[in-house]
Symmetry: C2
Subunit: 358 residues, 2 copies
């Protein structure tokens, strides 16, 4: 079940939901200035919304799950036997929309694989039967994610010391926000410093307002101030999510993460990463694998130009943080040193995966 | 003489000039979107403009010199003997307007001290005679600064390697821009990565357009991307100005400088600082000496809100960089290791100071 402490942005119905014939996606590009939704009527539109950063972080995964329910709803009335094709096509299109999000890709692949196995076992399955199978599977996946957020944030909260400031980068979502809220609820004094995370301002727009809504002390700073706050003692802990964790403990996360991780190491401050699901298929990550977005994005802020016309910009969207800069990786299975991800964590994960089978 | 390569922003008449009864200050807050001037009719208004960040970096020093000429112009017609009082009062008000700028403060103190000595030697000096003395003194100071920029940028240009990208922070003005231009004119391939330098965007608004105007390759990035560019090899040199260099080699410069300096050290990239005038009266700098500005500034970008209402922000305006992170300090007297500032540099400076006497 969803934690009641979650802020507006992270409640499932505000990430994505079905309404009439449409799939609605909460528009994180305009939050907190507007609480609006992008209305999609085809999977192509959903993929295009994901590509256009309507949602980000863990958002695309939730959208993908809602999209599977949507395909189920649309397929129920089809004549004849159940077909995997529309589900597989949707999964393919969504996975391609955000290549960095391998959790979404692997979750969708898992769904398609299990549907395929189900159809092999039940060759006479009806469209309604398959739709129902998909909905139950998605129910199970959503419950499993809620349980993972709960256990990760229990671990996270225990790592937060009373009165020690925390800095983050971008929008670290469920595990981080719940860790902070649980630490606060346990009576610890907590203050989170949130770098604005240019160019899209996920820190200022998503993280800070969410913490504010949750009643947590929060201070917005610019992306260059992390080192200053570590030096003057304002912060003593660095916590982020990860877009990807490889088997050697390499962490991929939003641009700006590497600078703070290097500074945290220099000032002797632990860097703790929340990883819902390190990627067993990714032995490591090379810097040149990382996606670059349009350099134009860094030349504007909320649509307002920040420099003269004709200027060049560059936007390497993600940082690759070497495992040597990471103190701990918090997973649903426990807290691991980065060097233990490919061994100890992988051993736990193999077991856990079996539990999710329907 | 002013270097003809200097861009619009750094030409003396665009920093400050006298026009009719007013002192005009080039408004760096709105550049490059507008090329406008703030019109001051009293020294109080000039001090208030400096306090309000109409100009910054080396700007206040140039404004202070123009203000001395202005006081001279206003005092010329006074009856009776020459009086130091209006000059001393102006110097006091201007020095207090930007406490971090000790170069301005020491230059103004030097002017007042020399005027005082002049009046002791010439007890019958007229207001016109004192005004003329001040103007000749300011002429000499301006020429001396032009000569210092020329020699610092010769040193700086020699430290720039062909084809190796450079990153900077904020607006490093004459010495840095001329170093880059001279390196380019010497046939080296030069590309400068400019972090936007939130919240005031001095990188995007001042440095990048100035380099663009000078025909130098320039790329704007956000303040969190320095580490990424060092890791992927895009940059191999970090160069900034300094608001203050202490005798132990500690460097004070715009927020964001420390993070890049720490990352430069981590990635083995030299950090080179341009210091027009290390401060012999400052043995070191403690982090808590640094000025904090209104936290509200980090909650807006060019007047547009970046987060929800009622949010807290923090704006520690300057970073204190320990000497261990600095490779070299470029001064008018030569290039020094930070550890040599309090010894070798101070020895040269003692000699140089004598040259400036009239």
């Amino acid at each position: 079940m969803e934690d009641a402490r979650l802020p507006y942005l992270l409640r499932k119905e505000n990430i994505s939901r079905l309404e009439g014939k449409a799939l609605l996606i909460g528009d994180r590009r305009v939050f907190p200035f507007e609480r609006s939704f992008v209305r999609c009527t085809t999977i192509g539109e959903v993929a295009s919304a994901i590509r256009g950063m309507v949602t980000q972080g863990g958002g695309p995964l939730q959208v993908a799950l809602t999209a599977m329910r949507w395909v189920a709803l649309q397929s129920e009335g089809a004549p004849g036997l159940a077909s995997l094709a529309p589900y597989a096509e949707a999964a393919r299109m969504l996975s391609q929309a955000r290549p960095t999000n391998t959790t979404m890709k692997r979750t969708l692949q898992g769904i398609i694989t299990r549907m395929d196995r189900h159809l092999v076992r039940h060759p006479d399955e009806t469209p309604v039967g398959l739709a129902s199978f998909v909905n139950r599977m998605v129910d199970g996946i959503e419950e499993a994610f809620d349980a993972k957020y709960a256990s990760m944030s229990d671990f996270g909260a225990s790592m937060i010391a009373d009165g020690r400031g925390i800095i983050t980068t971008c929008f670290a979502e469920h595990s981080f926000l719940l860790s902070v809220a649980k630490a606060r609820d346990a009576g610890k004094r907590v203050c989170v410093y949130v770098p604005e995370t240019r160019p899209y301002l996920q820190g200022s727009r998503l993280t800070a307002p969410s913490l504010q809504e949750m009643g947590v002390d929060v201070v917005v700073v610019t992306d260059g101030m992390g080192a200053h706050l570590m030096q003057d003692g304002s912060v003593g802990l660095y916590m982020t999510a990860a877009d990807l964790v490889a088997m050697d403990g390499t962490v991929v996360n939003k641009t700006g993460t590497l600078a703070n991780a290097v500074c945290a190491r220099y000032f002797g401050i632990p860097y703790v990463v929340f990883a819902l699901s390190p990627d067993p298929l990714q032995p490591t990550v090379a810097v040149d694998m990382v996606e670059e977005r349009s350099g134009f994005d860094v030349l504007v802020c909320r649509g307002v130009p920040t420099t003269s016309t004709g200027m060049a910009g560059r936007y390497p969207a993600f940082d690759v943080v070497p495992p040597s800069l990471v103190r701990s990786i918090v997973t649903p299975q426990g807290v691991f040193a980065p060097s233990a991800i490919g061994t100890d964590w992988l051993a736990c994960e193999g077991t856990a995966d079996g539990d999710e089978e329907i």
